[in-house]
């Protein structure tokens, strides 16, 4: 019989259990971080950061991480550039133009479902679509013996970037919508009472006052892109180097670089890890360390940015 005594015991055990769980979680997090720092920090050198990876990670050296690092940056930029306008427009619609009808509920549900789709499925879908010859401009043409274009290669920074955009769309849109909804109604009314129209009010009043939340959404999306592997694996390709025209960083070759394949820190980690062909644990941890540092810096930047552009202090304008 669950009497008073039982309840007293559970009241005593509950907090202990909660505390223990918390301690275990914290310990595991710390352990991972510590391992990465201890194993990885020692790898870092100018040479490691600036040298290109070797052709095969099997070589004792495996080379540096210059192109995977650049690949991560490129892919993140492409993904954000593709996701940002769509997310912002969607969140504006959801906040200010929705009538809560069947269509809007449909959109909302679709976004929720998209948030749960595994990224490897998104990557597969991107491949299926972007190998269509009509999308050759996003990657490179695949020709048959006669030189006729059969299909698009379907793997490139641009394709992977679009797939990444689809992946982060739900999260970025959600956080932007939250930010817009938090913008105080009174500001909007103040603007409308001055005879401004709705669109003007959204652009000049709502978005500036939600700026911080919007930036946070973007950073959140960037972090996700940097950490994803499945899309890189399927839609960016299985090489460690940039496959476009060389040197890949020459301005004249930029577009070509984007239309071709390469690697990111995550795929470099995979290749050099014992699971990949490399069995080169040091290099893998070195790259992990760099990736984590970037993500930490990114978060620090958000915090700093938030402090500078704090809307409460009434700064800025358009």
């Amino acid at each position: 019989m669950p009497g008073k005594k039982n309840r007293r015991i559970s009241a005593a055990v509950g907090p202990v259990y909660a505390w223990l769980t918390m301690a275990v979680v914290a310990a595991v997090c710390l352990l991972i971080l510590l391992t990465v720092v201890m194993m990885g920090a020692g790898q870092i050198s100018v040479d490691f950061l600036l040298r290109e990876p070797a052709a095969s990670a099997m070589d004792a050296g495996a080379g540096g991480i210059s192109t995977p690092l650049a690949g991560t940056v490129l892919l993140t930029l492409v993904g954000i550039a593709a996701a940002f306008p769509v997310s912002l427009a969607t969140s504006i619609y959801m906040t200010y133009y929705t009538r809560k009808g069947a269509l809007d509920r449909g959109i909302e549900t679709a976004i929720d479902i998209l948030a749960g789709v595994p990224t490897v499925v998104i990557a597969l879908f991107a491949l299926a679509v972007f190998t269509n010859p009509a999308f050759t401009f996003l990657s490179t043409p695949v020709q048959n013996d006669g030189g006729v274009i059969q299909r698009a290669y379907g793997k490139s920074f641009l394709v992977a970037g679009v797939a990444m955009a689809v992946m982060i769309l739900p999260f970025v849109t959600k956080s932007m919508t939250e930010a817009l909804k938090r913008a105080p109604n009174s500001y909007l009314e103040g603007s409308l009472a001055l005879g401004a129209n709705k669109w003007e009010t959204i652009c000049r009043v709502a978005i500036p006052s939600a700026r911080r939340g919007i930036v946070t959404g973007v950073i959140l999306g960037m972090g996700r892109i940097m950490g994803d592997t499945a899309i890189v694996w399927l839609a960016l390709g299985g090489t460690l180097r940039m496959t476009g025209r060389q040197p890949w960083y020459a301005p004249g070759n930029w577009l070509d670089t984007l239309r071709n394949t390469g690697s990111t820190l995550t795929s470099y980690i995979y290749y050099t890890s014992p699971a990949g062909e490399g069995n080169n644990l040091e290099a893998a941890f070195g790259a992990s360390f760099v990736l984590i540092v970037i993500i930490v810096l990114l978060n620090a930047a958000t915090a700093a940015l938030g402090a500078i552009g704090d809307p409460e202090r009434g700064e800025g304008g358009e």
Binding site: S186, Y187, G190, L192, A193, G195, R313, G314, G316
Partner: protein, 241 residues
Amino acid sequence: MSFGAKQVLFDVNIEAPAQSVYAFIGPSGCGKTTLLRCINRMNDLTPSFRLTGEIRVNGDSVYEMKTDRQARELRRRIGMIFQRPMPLRMSVMRNMLFPYREHYQADKKKAAELAVEKLRLVGLYDEVKERLDAPAGSLSGGQQQRLCIARALMLDTGLLLLDEPCSALDPVSTFQIEDLLMKLKQTHTIIMVTHNMEQARRISDRTAFFYQGRVVESGATLQVFFQPEHELTQKYVQGII
């Protein structure tokens, strides 16, 4: 006037003479704000809002204006000041130019001059002339409220609607605003909601007392305060209810 099934105002019939101050008084929730917001059609934004009857501003029937554009033009002719000072999150000067944007693009210099003129009118210019580019949020509450009034005056407003404009302000700022309203009265028609009986008595020419969505009594301020026809009014102005 109702929001969905809930009727908020009943049989309101009020006429505000030009160039005077009309005060709306009454207990909380009796519909003063709602009536004010009917006049410049701010309630349009609430989907459940319904109104029967007519509101005229300068002879134009407000609810006959069908398009959104007409409603916006109406709002540009009516200044509205809210309870909490509400400068937009931009600089003082940008705030002033905000409602004036179309003309501002055409003639920047003239708009800036006009802004200075209006800031002078509300007695703010000398206080903020060095801070025109500072964020409006950095001004004091009273200054912000006067900024909002000056901003409303940037347009050709003939009618000013003020919803408890001084309730978030200290006594000195309150007096500054009252002085300003007395000055503006010569050129503008002013309707003001207030919970401050003293204030209503000091500056209004006419007063309407609202109770549970009805106008119990309206007329010359002195009469409403000192010779009210209804017992309810008397109790309210004496602070009994």
